[in-house]
Symmetry: C2
Subunit: 278 residues, 2 copies
């Protein structure tokens, strides 16, 4: 991996960074192809919104943009992770001074091994036992408090055939995958859970909703329950790296990737393979 | 501040530590007097329990004990914070390898300025608008996902007379303060919220319950609602540094620190002033 800390290659982090003590920060995971980061403006827009909501110093966002573009340019395929913490604090305690200078960490990872059959045939998923806590103040943000996702991911072994776990919230609402957003198709409508109580407002979720609307496919964000998941004609998952993963089995129940999932995959393909400079 | 990272003074942290990326860790805040850490065994017991529940490598706990004792010995009064993250991971993603070596950070802070009138006359508190998400998998642990506490603490200005904010959970249960546990007195019984849905199982909370029981004061951990807080005859807060803070006003409603609060303060005083080597 290649690491920049506040723009300095291979620098270290401070042991009194609030990111380390409290998960007091935000991140973005940006897929890059042909030297170009996908949907960079959407990622930076979400990061800026997160900084506003958490009152984290956003003055380094333009530097982040430059760093991501620079690191992407050197690689055919890469995943670039941007981490923005509230910064270093010599004082103890949850209170913020308001004057903290954000810590900017930009990391380039190689593109992981990818099973292309998963994109075509679909993935196996299971329902997690753990339910996500609900907090509208944090919902939607890609913040660094991710113990829930870590514990949910630990519910099934790394070497299993299961690719993703589906999470409900403490009040029983369908929420998301551990590292993806979830969509279901009912009739001809594409439905996805609200992200106003928990979950992340994924960039690929946003792109899929936009592309569906442009193509005249009805979409709706709403409250969804287990019965709606279980009766879904199609289920698919989205994230920044994979685009759309069709679900071919949920808790052992077999499904066939359906026509709306296929159509959305086709609409996305050019955006994912040849990202525009934006 | 004096910092040890994996036992090395003034060392830095890794920018790919999972603590920094996900708040994937635990901490303890240990008050030290006369060169001796208070309730060190209870703090390390909770830390060990947290490591078990999160499956974090606990092999460094004995080193942590040695470091805390060493740093405490050099100071008349100090706060020592111990941070134990899952460790460094070169791979991206929530999944754990299971082989991560925990990162151990031990930091000595000076004892903060303290308004001794607060211990005697009590403190002003307010109810926070934010409600804590509920997740039994994380409840009770002093883990490093603390954005909720940071946002709650930001609800009132640093320079106000308010010392602490009281939090309810998403289902309306009384939970805790942002940095303290809460107790109420009703009749002659000392009541405190369960910590099985959210909140931290505070070391001082445990000591207060123990000392009350030893003194024959009835105690009960249970589900408490807003009406029980509002009808309480006495309210007090506990944390590792302060011991017991009587509440003298809640959302502007005046209260007089009561006899059971005073009695518990007296029972605690010798334990806080002259901690035993344990």
């Amino acid at each position: 991996v290649t690491v920049l800390v506040n723009g300095v290659r291979d620098a270290d982090a401070s042991p009194v960074d609030r990111g380390l003590h409290y998960g007091d920060g935000l991140f973005e995971t940006i897929a890059c192809r042909n030297g170009v980061p996908r949907f960079l403006s959407l990622h930076l827009e979400r990061l800026a919104l997160g900084c506003r909501r958490l009152n984290i110093d956003a003055s380094g966002l333009e530097d982040t943009r430059t760093e991501v573009l620079g690191l992407a340019r050197e690689a055919d395929r890469a995943i670039i992770k941007v981490l923005m913490t509230r910064g270093v604090a010599l004082a103890r305690g949850y209170a913020t001074a308001g004057s903290e200078k954000a810590t900017r960490i930009t990391i380039r990872y190689s593109w992981p091994h990818e099973d292309s059959a998963q994109l075509h045939d679909g993935v196996l998923v299971r329902t997690c036992a753990m339910r996500l806590g609900e907090n509208p103040y944090l919902a939607g943000l890609k913040h660094c408090n991710r113990l829930e996702q870590i514990l949910a991911r630990a519910e099934w072994p790394a070497d299993s055939d299961i690719t993703e776990g589906i999470l409900f919230s403490s009040s029983g609402r369908l929420a998301s995958g551990t590292m993806s957003n979830i969509f279901i198709v009912r009739g001809s409508t594409v439905l996805t859970p609200n992200v106003d109580r928990c979950g992340v407002a994924g960039v690929m979720r946003r792109v899929v909703l936009r592309e569906a609307q442009r193509a005249g496919i009805p979409t709706r964000e709403g409250d969804l329950q287990a019965r709606e998941l279980n009766c879904a004609e199609e289920i698919f998952l989205t994230n920044a790296r994979m685009g759309i993963w069709p679900v071919r089995a949920l808790d052992g129940r077999r499904m066939t990737p359906g026509p709306i999932t296929r159509r959305l995959q086709s609409l996305l393909a050019p955006l994912l393979e040849e990202p525009a400079n934006a």
